[in-house]
Symmetry: C2
Subunit: 322 residues, 2 copies
């Protein structure tokens, strides 16, 4: 039984978790960021003062298992299209917010949710502290709130620093998972929104340094105008090294062709395929990992989601071989 | 394996279901009314136009089973104390409302919920049609909406008629359960709010007549000022006979002493113990069934709930002997 820890949150982690969860010899733990501040999650965070749950929910959904997994996924994914105050809210977010209140601890809430929804593996927040992301841009502007990372009007500017609005210690079960891991997979996912924030948590870097796990980094398919505009693959890796304090042992990067129609849609948003200029400083795996299924934008969801995804199965097959 | 069908909804049915669910030789089905119109359920009903779920949720909670039953109960019982639009809402109601939308059928929503939350037994709405209760009082006033049955200002007046606001056919799985039952337990529960409405559903009476099940009626402990003011036990039974079209085979009535402090609280609301004047027209079981645990009123819940309950175990022991 190999212990695999997936570091990220959101859709990128879902892809990895979905692909790996059915392997009988893999014990999966997903660590998710808790700094999101937009959409349904942001509203709940503002109104309740609890840790935001959007990324945790996505990991939970990905790990749903057994004969009710489709119903559980539908339930956690459901978004209200009407109802005073409910409209636009995601039911999974509402459920996890209630569990945080019931259990009086985000970590325990996730343990309860994992049991109730019978997920295969574990899902933990990287910290139990409700901190915001502080983003500094090259022009000196500083903004607080993860939602600015999805704000197209802030796009094109280089981000020069990322920190947390207050000290947030590493959640004890997350620490344990990192120390016991055989493999740690970072990415795919929003570099500034889902990956780097983990490294800002107090004691994360020391713990990550102590870990003897193989460190795998999965490079994103596309740049993100308001986060990683103009960054090449090597730029991504260098930032990962800078924040995580370690150079990856293995880097996985797509070499498949992105469908031209999708490229056009991305181009309109000033987003482009990440250029592979990787230096030979680690083991590099180049493979076609483009998903044939184009993700649908949910009309009730005001946040733009990526249309192009890594293929769960293709990525999992590569990871299993490592 | 004896097939037992519990007809009611709400707290009364919960007591019966909780007591019986651990019997290995009982196959339980709970049929619940879907006419509630007050509180969280009423708000959701108004905003979504789906079948109200409050009574179904209570039955589901009572049947939660396995090592996560406490967490599942906490989850379904949770009431939001803050949040724009969420405040006052019950999470279980929100979840079931979403499932109604996902499954496009209240019956299928309950089947999914039963699987997701691993309940022991089945829970069905008595009808899938969203009808309201029409209540006629002795002074000729007619009001539409189950919430009037909890309205103290409408108390003391005799209810002379109860009907549904539109034709509502018996749900097919409810019909099947009634026809296959060995025992049907009606009550305890609000006579006009939870028990008699079942009989108003189209084809219920014919189906109930065809059933060869032993018909057990559990008399309430107390009168309800806005529903059953001044009614004796025999009055309750006569109404059950009038609406259900059959005289019960077995009547269970409390003979235990109600704690004086609780009696005082009820008296202040003009509510009194139901007087046992039962005629010997059926098998009558008199026994102490007072619960030693006094139910707590949830401060976030605007609807007054009964403080005094039947004891689950005591009632179950009697039912098991039948």
């Amino acid at each position: 039984m190999k212990k695999v820890v997936v570091i990220g949150g959101g859709t990128g982690s879902s892809v990895v978790l979905t692909g790996l969860k059915n392997s009988s010899n893999i014990d999966l733990t997903s660590l998710a960021v808790v700094t999101d501040s937009g959409g349904s999650t942001g509203r709940l965070r503002d109104e309740f003062g609890f840790l935001p749950v959007g990324d945790l929910r996505q990991c939970l959904m990905a790990l749903a298992d057994g004969d009710t997994q489709d119903d559980i996924r539908d339930l956690l994914l459901y978004r209200f299209t009407k109802g005073n105050g409910l409209q636009g809210h995601n039911l999974g977010n509402i459920i996890l917010t209630a569990l945080e209140d019931i259990k009086d601890s985000p970590g325990k809430a996730m343990e309860a949710a994992s049991k109730i929804f019978r997920v295969k593996g574990k899902v933990f927040p990287i910290t139990e502290v409700d901190a915001h992301l502080m983003i500094t841009y090259e022009d000196g502007q500083q903004l607080i709130g993860e939602h600015f990372l999805d704000d197209h009007s802030k796009g094109g500017k280089k981000i020069t620093n990322l920190q947390l609005s207050k000290p947030a210690p590493l959640y004890k079960n997350a620490k344990k998972a990192i120390l016991e891991a055989d493999t740690i997979v970072v990415g795919p996912g929003d570099l500034y929104g889902s990956l780097l924030p983990h490294s800002l948590v107090k004691n994360f870097k020391q713990t990550f340094k102590k870990s003897t796990a193989k460190f795998v980094y999965v490079v994103n398919l596309m740049t993100h105008f308001s986060q990683t505009h103009d960054l090449t693959a090597q730029d991504h890796v260098d930032l990962i090294e800078k924040y995580f304090g370690k150079y990856p042992d293995v880097i996985i990067i797509n070499s498949g062709k992105i469908p031209p129609t999708l490229l056009k849609t991305y181009q309109d948003q000033k987003e482009f395929p990440v250029i592979d200029d990787l230096e030979k400083k680690a083991k590099i795996i180049r493979s076609d990992m483009i998903s044939k299924v184009v993700a649908q934008q949910n009309n009730n969801d005001k946040i733009k989601r990526s249309l192009l995804r890594h293929d769960s199965e293709k990525l999992a097959n590569i990871l299993k071989k490592i």
